[in-house]
Symmetry: C2
Subunit: 208 residues, 2 copies
């Protein structure tokens, strides 16, 4: 069947492998890349290569980093007794932008999802436990320096399940475990809030 | 402000330049590329480079091609007296897939769009005229071998305007100019067709 030249077909094929890029979008992107100014396309190719070779996961928190330890883990002014657990690097950036947190992070790189076949062992939960209790779990003499684990996974079924799983795993070490608040978002209308959000908002009410 | 490592930021920036990819999508794609298997990301980088260097526009019809003349323009079994004018390469692939056309093509690489600041001079209309009348417009002794120009631009305002512009430019050379039919698409319900489509469908009715 008639189609594009071979190099173009290969590019469409590679672009289709990206998340949420179907064949039509891939074709549109490939057309853009092939007809764009030379420098633009080659810059993108170079940026992919560079990002891939220069970016690693932080040894401690698994955020994206250029060095063994990321910017936050190597910042000694940050509170090392608090660990905020998130699903993905973008969540770290969002929380940092909010400015409401001065502790450290732990990026799971996924959520526990039986539907998508992702077990707790496939996300960085073991690494979180190791980080909290140190290498010698039997030693109660003080390798534990973490006071609080803030579970900041999304308030979806998978995010809640992952949070519950981690809370169970961590609580036996006598560490405080908290979950980000659920409620009406800023600017939200009570009338249009769904039942579950509303019941959470009332349940989690604070003294005024 | 806190953000991703430098190489990751550069990748997000380059990805944001792609059409219909905003900053959020670019970040998600960059995260995928950085954490994906090594080979996948480097394959994409390589595919971009290859497609960019190996793919050119056909000298005759401006479809994407690996050689000076594309597959269709170098196929002597195709009817060279018919030229089907389309906006972009994907339209050629779609018409070829339909199997309803055996002539040649002309890819405009855009549509006349005052709103987006694209004038007729910026799309391949002059090249179409040159192709039809040859280099010597004053010579009436037979360099014209094209009998029909099929205007297959989309039936949008811009597509219609471009078709009208080309029809005016071409008709003075005494060549038949046709426009793809407008009507109810296959499987379409008359009740739900919009007024303009319906009036075109009735106006363009054929003997049964």
């Amino acid at each position: 069947m008639f189609s594009y030249p071979r190099a173009m077909r290969r590019l469409i094929n590679e672009l289709s492998k990206l998340p949420s890029i179907g064949e039509k979008s891939a074709t549109r992107l490939a057309y853009h890349l092939v007809t764009a100014h030379n420098a633009d396309s080659l810059n993108l190719a170079e940026a992919i290569k560079l990002a891939k070779t220069e970016t690693i996961l932080c040894r401690e928190c698994f955020f994206l980093s250029a060095n063994t330890l990321c910017e936050i883990c190597s910042d000694h002014t940050r509170d090392a007794t608090q660990i905020c657990v998130v699903e993905k690097p973008a969540d770290v950036v969002a929380i940092e932008r909010s400015g409401g947190y001065r502790g450290r992070y732990h990026v799971l790189h996924g959520l526990w999802s039986p539907l998508r076949g992702i077990s707790p062992g496939e996300i960085k939960i073991d690494e979180l436990i190791t980080r909290i209790v140190g290498d010698n779990q039997s030693n109660s003499s003080g390798t534990i320096s973490v006071n609080e684990v803030v579970l900041a996974t999304s308030t979806t079924v998978e995010g809640d399940a992952t949070a519950l799983y981690i809370a169970n795993a961590v609580s036996k070490y006598g560490i405080k475990v908290s979950r980000i608040a659920q409620g009406i978002p800023k600017g939200g209308d009570v009338e249009y809030a769904d039942d579950l959000t509303l019941s959470h908002a009332i349940e989690g009410r604070k003294n005024f």
